[in-house]
């Protein structure tokens, strides 16, 4: 059965068959080959050779037209809006196209928001938050002056040493040191998942930005089409006006939630900073120092008040860095 005119069929190029539309649809190769019979001149042509077919006449619109209609956007967005208008074809499906104009972008936006919320609720964030909080609790309970025998000399102080919530004896300090080391290991292990999370959040944020730009271009395009079609097709113009309003609302919403999203991205960045700068750099050195105190305490060797004061200062500094 010969293939129907409108049906796709495999194209086979061959040298058989005289008719260009025959089974081969072929062009006969010349006996001399193409290189030998090429004329030396290149005649100038002014019109491209066009096949019969349905021509898509684009709705003419300039960046200036769009700027006049909706001023204040980036030039790039007017270019995009122009491309969108250019790709709009007035045909039987125009009403449907108008109703769905920019709809996919709004759906994309919804998906991105959901994804952003999911990432912001990521378990690794809660876990690391917990580790850091516990670390701060322990560090905040350490009374280094007392551990070094310089701050808990009162009768009451000595009486309650060991039974209060403070870490004020060398043995308590040794236990705290062991727990801090455990916490540091856990926190260090969470760094990779946190960096992944940060990358995903940044990618998502870029997608949000890109989507916002597309939404804006789409809104401008819809507004232009509603104006352009008002004379000839009021119903279609109305659809585009509605789409323009809806997309503008979406854009406003995206801009409003922009600061919240920045905070959501900021959170893992802050935690990563705390881990990299404090937990993995300053803390190990400090733990080394308190390990020495515990060792010296066990040997009944005293640490001078100046040394103890210096350590206490470093401890306060670490706590304040972790808090920020």
């Amino acid at each position: 059965m010969p293939p129907a005119k409108d049906k796709l069929r495999p194209t086979v190029i061959g040298s058989e068959g005289a008719s260009p539309r025959g089974p081969g649809g072929s062009v006969q190769p010349p006996k001399d080959g193409p290189a030998r019979r090429a004329p030396a001149v290149k005649p100038v042509i002014r019109q491209p050779t066009a096949m019969p077919g349905t021509e898509r006449r684009r709705i003419e619109v300039s960046v200036r037209d769009l700027q006049a209609l909706s001023p204040g956007a980036k030039t790039m967005l007017y270019e995009r809006a122009r491309a969108l208008v250019g790709a709009f074809v007035l045909d039987r499906a125009a009403q449907r196209k108008a109703i769905l104009w920019g709809h996919d972008l709004q759906q994309t936006h919804g998906g991105l928001v959901t994804e952003m919320l999911d990432l912001a609720r990521s378990p690794v964030l809660r876990q690391v938050d917990g580790y850091l909080a516990r670390m701060m609790d322990i560090l905040g309970s350490i009374d280094l002056m007392a551990v070094c025998g310089h701050g808990g000399d009162s009768v009451m102080g000595r009486l309650f040493q060991g039974i209060n919530s403070r870490i004020d004896t060398p043995s308590e300090l040794a236990r705290a040191q062991a727990e801090l080391e455990q916490l540091l290991t856990l926190v260090a292990a969470a760094l990779d998942p946190l960096l992944d999370l940060k990358d995903r959040l940044l990618r998502l944020s870029n997608s949000m930005q890109g989507t916002a730009e597309q939404v804006e271009a789409s809104a401008i395009g819809a507004l232009f089409l509603s104006e352009r079609l008002r004379q000839n097709d009021t119903a279609l113009a109305q659809r585009f006006a509605e789409r323009s309003m809806s997309l503008t609302q979406t854009l406003a919403q995206m801009r409003q939630t922009g600061s919240t999203q920045e905070l959501q991205i900021e959170q893992p960045m802050r935690i990563i900073g705390a881990i990299q700068n404090v937990a993995l750099v300053v803390m190990p050195a400090f733990i080394g120092s308190i390990a020495s105190i515990a060792t010296l305490g066990a040997r009944k060797t005293t640490i001078s008040p100046t040394e103890a004061g210096e350590l206490a200062y470093r401890l306060r500094d670490i706590i304040s860095q972790l808090k920020t």
């Binding site: 194209t11 040298s15 260009p20 062009v27 100038v44 050779t49 096949m51 077919g53 021509e55």
Partner: protein
Amino acid sequence: MLTLTLDKPGAAPARKLQLSLNKGAAFKVTVAWQCDASHQDDIDIHALEARNGGNGAKVSALEEILSTYNTTKMSPKTGVLPTAADGSFATPSGGLQHSGDVRVQGNTETIVIDGSKLPAGVNEIPLFATVHKAEHGQGHVEGAESEDEAAFADIEVCTVTIADEGGRELGAYQLSKEFGEFNVVQLGSIMHGDNGWEYAPVGRGFTGTFNDVLGHFS
């Protein structure tokens, strides 16, 4: 003011330095498409090394047809353009180069038109995009086509851009939106106009095959 000629009889004329002023002699056509990985439609772009003597562009040799259908890989018996190891192929002049047929979804194919390499007399390069149903894989397999109908609307996103050698976009079509009901689109022509090689859009769609294109241009 009096002047003297400094040329001596029989002396070779002084050689003058020249720079090529043929700006924009190279063009790049890129088709990019994206759709479901299991989708079975394949997009191809094609170009012709044609001569236009005033009665429309024509090709007269298979070597002048840059199409995946005209490669030795796709059509071992009838194709004349050898396929390189990386899948790319070109016309013998090197004036038209194709990046190679790709059937992986979410990908691109490109054609580079290098005006400086085109044979003398070639003055129009008509450009086309087609869509057809095909099995996907690393390359075309002869006989893998199906008779089912395809159209650009089947592709979620399918865009074609035509850019000059500086990357400046000269034309673009969103095939899935603008020509959704068709499976062949004549994009336009790179033609040798008043200012050297330049791009002129056509933007016409129809339902048919690439052989219909050859029927018109040969």
